[in-house]
């Protein structure tokens, strides 16, 4: 097992820059999710770590060794493909044993190690079946088996659950995380599904247009998004943005939006006058008749334990996650109050967050990572 260090990695396909200047470190045994929409460069980043794509610039090191321009076969890594890429002309046993065959492991040892791996993944009963007839989940497990059988330095997974149906995906998310807890392999996992990333990863790198927007723990990413993009991408429904124009001094604890004076975490920087956006998670909104921030009910979505209530305000539509008990009429006027210590303030022009008390812990931690 090993640490993966990516330094100023860059990849251009002709004019198109797929990855620009990415730097991050995956600690030994950690589970990193590269999260972002399609075309954001996450798969390209993964393929460069694997050696399937050569970078245009920057370096990649595995366990302290520079592997930037090494062949995939020399890197001692395992890769789980989106469509699994199980060799169709081989049965399950030969598929899992194929990497060991390349290393010249003796036949008897291949046999025992394949069987060990199959037991770990609970696929020992299908070892002699052809892979073509397997169900999605079993294909997935065979692909994992082929990856873990030779105990590589790290695992790279490219949306391995993308083709499974939703119900089964949850099962596999749990299995993958359990597997990780058991073998502690350094893992880089590419996904566009925030729920998968949040559920499995120790660290998440949110990517957009070839840039890592934020690198942090799932909690940091959710509670303290570094940009409006991250805030909007993570969370369902995403963070609300209440847009307003203002200039604020360093240390400000309130912002005036229309008639309302909204409390928020004290700012750690001065804000020049301009367009700002106050970020509020739906679960940090409550209705209070006394609040000067007014709106009218626009619609509701019932979700069982709670409901999403959309409110039309002067600053646009705001969605609140509220207990399911209360029912609302469309058009009914309401006042909104926010959980002030959890609010984020963004510079609406650059999209970046304005540092506040909320970020103190996170900033220190990120500085240590950088």
């Amino acid at each position: 097992m090993a640490e993966i260090r990516v330094d100023h990695l860059r990849k251009a396909f002709g004019e198109f820059v797929a990855v620009q200047d990415s730097s991050f470190t995956v600690e030994d045994g950690a589970f990193l999710a590269l999260l972002g929409p399609s075309g954001c460069g996450k798969t390209t980043t993964l393929r460069m770590i694997a050696g399937l794509e050569l970078p245009t610039g920057g370096t990649i090191s595995l366990a302290g060794e520079d592997v930037t321009y090494k062949r995939a076969s020399e890197r001692d890594i395992a890769f789980v493909f989106q469509l699994f890429a199980l060799y169709p002309h081989m049965n399950v046993r030969r598929n899992i044993g194929f990497p060991l065959l390349a290393q010249g492991v003796p036949k008897a040892e291949i046999r025992t190690r394949v069987e060990e791996t199959a037991r770990l993944l609970q696929i020992d009963h299908i070892l002699d079946r052809p892979v073509s007839g397997l169900a999605g989940g079993d294909r997935q497990r065979v692909a994992l088996g082929r990856a873990i059988v030779r105990r590589p330095k790290c695992f790279l997974m490219d949306e391995p659950l993308g083709t499974l149906d939703a119900e089964f995906r949850e099962v596999m998310v749990r299995e993958l995380r359990e597997l990780h807890n058991r073998i502690h392999a350094t893992t880089v996992y590419v996904t566009h599904d925030q729920i998968e990333a949040m559920a499995m990863a120790d660290r998440i790198a949110v990517m957009n247009h070839g840039v890592i927007e934020q690198f942090g723990t799932p909690q940091q990413i959710y509670d303290r998004p570094a940009s409006m993009y991250v805030a909007d991408f993570i969370g369902s429904p995403p963070m609300n943005f209440i847009r307003f124009d203002a200039g604020l001094p360093k240390g400000a604890r309130t912002a005036r939006i229309g008639a309302a004076e909204i409390e928020m975490p004290a700012l750690r920087a001065e804000v020049a006058p301009g367009a700002l956006a106050l970020g509020v998670r739906p679960e940090h909104i409550r209705f209070s008749d006394a609040s000067p921030l007014r709106g009218a009910i626009y619609g509701t979505e019932y979700l069982g334990t709670n409901q999403i209530v959309t409110v039309e305000t002067q600053g646009g539509l705001v969605r609140a996650r509220l207990p399911a008990g209360q029912s609302y009429r469309i058009g009914e006027p309401v006042g909104l109050s926010f959980k002030s210590e959890r609010l984020s303030l963004f510079d609406a022009r650059s999209g970046r967050v304005i540092p506040s008390v909320l970020h103190e812990g996170a900033l220190r931690r990120e500085a240590r990572h950088g």
Partner: protein
Amino acid sequence: MSAANSAHSVVEPGAASKRIAATLVILYAVITLVPLVWIFLTSIKSPPDSISYPPKILFTPSLEGYCNLFTTRTRQTPEYIAALPEPDGICDAVTRKRNMVIAGPSNFLPRFANSLIIAFGSTFLAVGLGTLAAYGFSRFKVPLADDLLFFILSTRMMPPIAVAIPIYLMYRQLGLSDTAIGMMLLYTAVNVSLAVWLLKGFIDEIPREYEEAAMIDGYSRLQAFRKVVLPQATTGIAATAIFCLIFAWNEYAFASLLTSGSAQTAPPFIPTIIGEGGQDWPAVAAGTTIFLVPILVFTILLRKQLLRGITFGAVRK
């Protein structure tokens, strides 16, 4: 699964339409088989039966055609023949009835062997080269790939025989006239374009992930090609091989122009049989019947791959 019931799905045909289809297929098969059956029947007729009019449907089968195909014979006086010891085998007996004796083996076997060597050899070369070239075009950034592929295709745009005279002159200069290697090269050159185009289609269908997986699993690209790509391309390779073999096996024009002696193939040889001792149609038919066998066997052996190959990977996944 619900998609299977939608309007665009393939509907299982009803019993009546199946019966109509079967009737049509059988009818077509019978019509196309008539000449083949006629050739086979002619090959087991005696020479007088073969030219009788109206044609005989019922006749006494004879091996004379096959005997005449494999032997050369000389006419002898009845006294000489009567003085000979007991006939040695059927052919001896048949020949003596016509007042002839077997003088020696005919050229049919060596010509047939030439056909086998040249057709299978050129097929092997064309498919081998074609597979490598197709893999290269499919997987690597080849400079001017489209132009090269068009160039390769363009070699088939005029009938090969249009270049017969230049090739004849070239081959004479190079000493390749009437050599097996020359014919093999020629058929390879004609077939390789077909092979590249067909195989590129098949290899494009094989997802790159398989090779990438193999390379990550610790194999070199060549090993990945051999252990992962080739086994999956067998369908396409088999289909391509049959097309190439059929061309090389049946080719007549170049063979009659460029070969006359030691490297002559069966197609130009078979018609010459007829000239030896009258209208020997049974011998010609026997030669044709035997000539049909290798392609038939090869096609039957590969029919599974061929059938799957004809769908061009449409049913993958």
